[in-house]
């Protein structure tokens, strides 16, 4: 999530340019990966302005924590949990959001790689 927030900040600041399909050339290193810049900055200048912006965006970008906090405070003690048979109309936008952030976190990525190795070993033993 931080990396995707950083990418947005890097684009806005002009650090990198947005890449379009038609601009792509073959071969490597045509445009700069903001992930690489993010990793280097985080280790060598953690207070960099773009990192601070990315942190602020990540904190508010996907979930407005402030408003969510206010909502929870307002309804505190009056929350009723109900298991519905069908999707409720208000849940549809949320269900549609699932899968729209396709980048798995570091831990999930590692798990996928570990599973891939396990598959390879299982095939070799079969």
């Amino acid at each position: 999530m931080m990396k995707s927030a950083f990418k947005t900040c890097a684009l806005i600041s002009g650090l990198v340019e947005r890449r379009f399909r038609r601009d792509q050339k073959t071969g490597r290193q045509i445009t700069f990966s903001t992930d690489l810049v993010y990793d280097v900055l985080r280790r060598h200048q953690p207070d960099h302005l773009l990192l601070r912006c990315a942190r602020a965006d990540a904190a508010r970008g996907l979930v407005d924590v402030q408003r969510l906090g206010e909502l929870l405070a307002r309804i505190k003690g009056r929350i009723r949990h109900a298991k519905l048979e069908h999707l409720s109309p208000f849940s549809v936008p949320m269900i549609l959001e699932i899968g729209s952030q396709p980048s798995p976190g570091r831990a999930a990525g590692e798990m996928m790689l570990i599973e891939a190795t396990e598959t390879l070993i299982a095939e070799a033993m079969a």
Partner: protein, 241 residues
């Protein structure tokens, strides 16, 4: 390559998180850092450092944070500290361009000298650094023979037994239920190997790219770099970009 039958590659997880593979009959350790270790020769090899890539882009107006050299050398020094190599082989494109050495910060040049003080540094030249460094210590060459393997920069375009090369910056991508993961990787068919780029700002090229076609005698094994460990991945599980 998919037409060829799946080959069972002997590989083993090492306690260091690396993967041990057999390359032309020689046991080599593929480290999670992206470095290759030949224990019998106490030789540490890293490819495509692309030092001073950040400053090369900055000179052309794309202002990138300049810490890439420091980051790359810190990771290299950490590997040297852990493994105590006799030889450190840099497999070419160690500098992003011919003037990179001149732009090197004093502290970074010192970090390279500190490595050269404890190990013999061999600068294998690449297409980005054809002349090798002028001031820094170490030997400059186009190929290095070690343990019966040939260490070089650019892989020969046809199968070649015992070759260890860089240049292509291999990266592996797999797809799962929650999305896809793309990591730098080693790629080998047991006869030759292409090592991942070690440089902090060096990008990656999918092993499914046409540039890898024809290099291997059979569908190769990818060994992807994870957070703390390497991951052996079958060719059939890899996807293109």
């Amino acid at each position: 390559m998919s037409a060829l039958p799946a080959h069972r590659y002997p590989f083993a997880a090492s306690p260091c998180g690396g993967t041990l593979v057999e390359l032309a009959g020689v046991e080599v350790l593929l480290r999670p850092s992206g470095a290759l270790w030949i224990a019998s020769e106490r030789l540490l090899a890293v490819a495509d450092l692309h030092l001073e890539k950040g400053s090369a882009y900055a000179a052309r107006g794309q202002l990138l944070p300049p810490y890439d050299t420091r980051e790359t050398l810190a990771r290299l020094a950490a590997e040297v500290g852990r493994l105590r190599p006799r030889t450190v082989a840099l497999l070419g494109d160690s500098f992003h361009d011919g003037k990179g050495e001149a732009r090197l910060a004093a502290a970074d040049a010192q970090a390279l000298r500190a490595i050269a003080a404890v190990a013999e540094v061999i600068w294998i030249v690449g297409n980005h650094d054809r002349d090798g460094p002028h001031e820094l210590p170490g030997e400059v060459t186009s190929d290095l023979m070690a343990a019966g393997l040939t260490l070089t920069h650019e892989p020969r375009s046809t199968p070649r037994l015992g070759e260890v090369a860089g240049h292509l910056h291999p990266a592996a991508k797999i797809k799962g239920r929650v999305g896809s993961v793309r990591r730098r990787c080693f790629v080998t068919d047991g006869e030759r190997l292409v090592a991942p780029a070690f440089g902090a700002y060096a990008g990656g090229l999918s092993v499914k790219d046409a540039a890898f076609r024809g290099l291997f005698v059979r569908a190769p094994l990818a060994v992807a770099l994870g957070e703390r460990q390497t991951h052996a991945i079958a060719w059939s599980q890899l996807v293109g970009e």
